[in-house]
């Protein structure tokens, strides 16, 4: 119940395995040994030994490695923000999708895409930024709609989240139908296919995800105290409004970073924190970091499955996360007799 160090190390170990699996699997299989060799060679800047390693190097460095890193960061960002939302709203159902952050981010990204901003030099800045702003707006709207005086009833939150999400999704669809040139690209993006290959999306996502996730980690302890409700948290010396605003901003930034570059990937933010809550307990100083690593593992593995299931075609990874995630989640829920919330 209270374990932390060992599960965290285990998660990292599994992450390493998942990464080697992810860079090894594909039309050209690259065994871990060769992959490691190529990576070391690249780091030391030595020339590839043979033609086959040269091919490996090209595949690894231009395709699989950036994609794997993108999936890692996205998984960490979704699980981290989901964990923070759950703690903040004191609600096991809160996740980036339920409270509208993800649909808002999607709308923002589509706005940016249809306006043709990606063609400009700032493309990898404008998409996540508009995604972030729209996500923030959506969360704020859901928050305001769900609020009754000073409390935030669960049912109101869910209803407002669903309503605002649907509205944002409808707007997104409307923009998609009216978009001509960018339509195909945006549509593929929306399905959760990481179509943007290469290092650009990785570099674009990195600062947003990093600021969001590190920001959340600095608020882990305050999130613990916030579990007692606003009144008790304030009496314990927490500036509740300031803490909550910052947590929402950091969590939404993480969500937007994920959605802007990989599209709609459901279920990660909901299930990963739940699974680890059962291992580490409710202390956010343990739950947040381990959820981030766990989310990275989950999404990298889901992406591997998405690539091999109907090879040589690829499935959008969002389909896999929901297909694996939902039953697994229900299994965990049914098995547990513990009341965690």
């Amino acid at each position: 119940m209270r374990k932390f160090t060992r599960p965290l190390l285990l998660c990292f170990a599994v992450l390493v395995i998942a990464v080697f699996l992810s860079i090894g699997v594909g039309s050209v299989a690259i065994p871990p040994k060769e992959a490691l060799e190529v990576l070391l060679n690249t780091m030391e800047d030595t020339a590839p030994a043979s033609d086959s390693t040269r091919t490996y190097q090209t595949i690894l460095l231009t395709l699989r490695l950036p994609r794997t890193i993108l999936m890692m960061m996205t998984g960490a960002a979704l699980a981290g923000s989901g964990c923070a939302y759950q703690g903040l709203f004191r609600n096991p159902l809160a996740d980036p999708y339920l409270i509208g952050a993800a649909s808002g981010a999607g709308l923002g990204a589509i706005i940016s895409l249809t306006l043709g901003w990606p063609a400009s030099a700032f493309s990898y800045l404008t998409v996540p930024l508009t995604a972030f702003l729209c996500a923030l707006l959506t969360v704020f709207l859901v928050f305001q709609l769900a609020k009754v005086r000073k409390s935030l009833p669960v049912t109101n939150l869910i209803l407002a989240g669903v309503a605002v999400s649907s509205f944002a999704t409808a707007l997104t669809s409307f923009l998609l139908i009216n978009a001509s040139g960018e339509l195909r690209r945006a549509l593929v993006w929306l399905l959760g296919g990481s179509t943007m290959a290469g290092w650009k999306p990785v570099l674009g996502q990195l600062p947003f995800a990093l600021i969001g996730l590190l920001g959340l980690l600095t608020f882990a302890y305050q999130l613990n105290v916030l579990q007692f409700g606003d009144e008790q948290a304030r009496q314990l010396g927490i500036n509740v409004n300031r803490a909550r605003t910052k947590i929402v901003i950091f969590a939404t930034l993480s969500t937007a970073a994920a959605v802007a570059f990989t599209g709609v990937i459901g279920f990660v933010g909901l299930i990963i924190p739940h699974i680890f809550r059962r291992i580490t307990g409710g202390d956010m100083r343990r739950l947040l970091p381990i959820s981030m690593v766990g989310g990275a593992v989950f999404l990298v593995l889901a992406d591997v499955i998405a690539r091999i299931l109907v090879a040589p075609q690829e499935l959008p990874v969002g389909i896999i996360t929901s297909l694996c995630g939902a039953p697994f989640f229900l299994f965990i829920l049914r098995r547990s007799k513990e009341k965690d919330w």
Partner: protein, 256 residues
């Protein structure tokens, strides 16, 4: 430390629910706040701990203006045992008690040796040590109330506000709880404000009394000034007798 409360109006919005409550408490005094349901006892405690959206008036602890202090410094001056002791079920008892040290800890809640000492002492005083490694979700309401008291004691503040702290406790713990509070006020000089329903307990432990009715002061003063049959009958709308028990000090309030 001296607590000076001067509330003109306070509540959840402009239409204040309490008004005109003015009193001073000296160091080591225990104030029992009495009054019927809905008379504003909880709102008063919320006003003093400043978790109400609307407060007009003045609050001073030893010359420190509570309206000018940060959340953090206020939490070093006032600890609160709220009426609804919601505790997240997935925390351990000792983790919850340690949270009383929040105003003294860094951003990541790192506990110092001093913090550990205060926590251990608070758990001993409230008799929660034996289940300190248990999850809060497994506790009874009374145990939870003691955990929250332990947390408030660990906060080590000169002023302690308690809202119906004994409502879930059995007779033995009610007495032990209030005796502990009394000791803290006598020995450590804590200024204590307790809202309570049980007039017999109030009479036994209070130094001064504040009787509230319809959100305002009905009477303030010593037992002789406040715990009068005609006064209590008027406040509660029920005829009562106030009896001095033959054992000497204790007073009993009995409905007629």
């Amino acid at each position: 430390m001296q607590l000076r409360v001067s509330i003109d109006r306070a509540g959840y919005d402009q239409s204040a629910t309490i008004s005109d409550i003015h009193f001073n408490l000296q160091e080591g005094q225990l104030l029992a706040v009495i009054g019927p349901n809905g008379s504003g006892k909880t709102t008063l405690i919320r006003a003093i701990s400043q978790v109400l959206p609307y407060i007009q008036g003045q609050l001073f602890i030893n010359g420190t203006d509570l309206f000018q202090t940060s959340e953090n410094s206020r939490a070093r001056l006032i600890a609160v045992v709220p009426q609804s002791t919601y505790v997240p079920p997935s925390f351990l008892v000792r983790e919850v008690v340690l949270m009383g040290r929040t105003p003294y800890m860094n951003w990541n809640g790192k506990a110092s040796g001093e913090d550990e000492i205060f926590v251990r002492e608070a758990m001993e005083q409230t008799d929660v040590e034996k289940f300190k490694d248990q999850l809060c979700g497994e506790l009874s309401a009374g145990e939870r109330q003691r955990v929250i008291l332990a947390r408030a004691l660990a906060q080590n503040t000169p002023v302690l506000l308690m809202d119906e702290p004994t409502s879930h406790l059995d007779l033995r713990y009610q007495i032990e709880f209030l005796e502990l509070t009394k000791t803290l006020s006598l020995n450590d000089g804590k200024t204590v404000l307790v809202a309570m329903h049980d007039l017999n307990l109030a009479a036994r432990f209070g130094d001064v009394f504040l009787a509230m009715k319809n959100g305002t002061t009905d009477a303030f003063g010593s037992a002789q000034d406040v715990l009068l049959p005609e006064k209590l009958s008027e406040i509660y709308g029920l005829a009562v007798r106030v009896i001095k028990l033959p054992d000497g000090g204790s007073t009993a309030v009995i409905p007629q």
